[in-house]
Symmetry: C2
Subunit: 216 residues, 2 copies
């Protein structure tokens, strides 16, 4: 008998190959999900989507300025001096069914609201630019203490961001997520199957190609 998930996909116990030691450490598919970061969960989903040809979404590497590299004989090149650079984009981007997808992953321990200090100016600028080019920009927020996940569209984030700039509250209340964001139901594998929710977002926002008019 085939065990199936709510989304109808058959249960396959084999997890995707982890790309990083971090992922390898955390290859834990149980519901308790100890120690696994939201980024790991999204990497897991992206690996799954890639294998199933559902979407091509990758995490961008951390930008580093490489200064010194050593080439030991008979072994791999070793970077001996490098510095972190500020990213100019969000962490994840790619394509699903012709749509350009661009987002960041954020976690908060708060039960009552999402603090906007989790968002950086350059991320807002980038998501604004993506939106102007009619891409699909959003953030995925995990309320760790509640174990609830939401996809928050950029336009709602932007509204809160601008309000903050005008001296209003520095966080987005949880109620706004329940009312205006798209909840992602955590499953088994991939635990964070966010693609169906992206599809909902696209339908709702009437995203289209070569069409700058977007429904607000």
């Amino acid at each position: 008998m085939t065990i199936r998930y709510p989304n109808g996909k058959p249960y396959s116990p084999k997890p995707s190959e982890p790309k990083t030691t971090q992922q390898r450490k955390n290859k834990n598919l149980s519901f308790s999900n100890r120690g696994k970061t939201l980024e790991d969960e999204i990497d897991e989903a992206n690996d799954y989507y890639l294998k199933k040809n559902l979407a091509i979404i990758h995490k961008k590497p951390v930008p580093v300025q490489i200064v010194k590299v050593e080439y030991p004989s008979r072994s791999a090149a070793v970077i001996r001096e490098a510095y972190f650079r500020t990213p100019s984009t969000t962490d994840f981007n790619g394509i699903w069914n012709g749509y350009y997808i661009d987002f960041d992953a954020k976690e908060t321990a708060s039960k009552s609201s999402f603090p906007l200090k989790n968002i950086h100016e350059h991320q807002m600028t980038h998501m604004q630019q993506v939106t102007e080019q009619n891409g699909v920009a959003f953030i995925i927020v995990r309320f760790s203490s509640l174990e609830r996940y939401f996809l928050l569209p950029y336009d709602i984030l932007q509204k809160a961001w601008l309000a903050m700039k005008h001296g209003e509250r520095k966080s987005i209340p949880f109620s706004t997520f329940e009312e205006e964001a798209f909840e992602i139901q955590a499953g088994y594998y991939p635990r964070i199957d966010y693609l169906p929710v992206v599809q909902q977002l696209i339908t709702t926002k009437r995203h289209g190609c070569a069409n700058k008019e977007m429904k607000e």
Copy 2:
């Protein structure tokens, strides 16, 4: 009097802020273009597109596995041990007017053909996946000795790649570029203004959004 380029854009002598020391070293807008790599030229174009809100296309950082980081007091964190990882994608991706754009930049000194050894298996796989998701995948090739630039659509690259796999020639003749690729005319600034050619490609191939039917 405003000086204008063939594409009608007014001449602005101020170059974009370089993102890397590499670019800073090479901020040379002359036609001779000494020592400037194709990647630098494409970065220059991308910076220009970003500033003018024409397209949001970024080079992906080199993926590195960071092992050891030092935190000297009163100065930036220093990466003391890291290793290069094999990228799983092409170097450039982003969005233009709702279209997902994905490409790599390749240079050859050959005057007669483009050697396919410049292309890696993982890049072909990625461009195939992008094409299946209805993204716009291609490579930009610079024939350095001829100072001529071409945008080669993925489907033409794929044809040559598969032929090679079946024991046929290991390179794409220059004549194929002249006949089937889209030539990019080198200008002043940005020197490699490739966006109009991408637009041509999209029109020719009838790329569409959320529409998997593509003309071969």
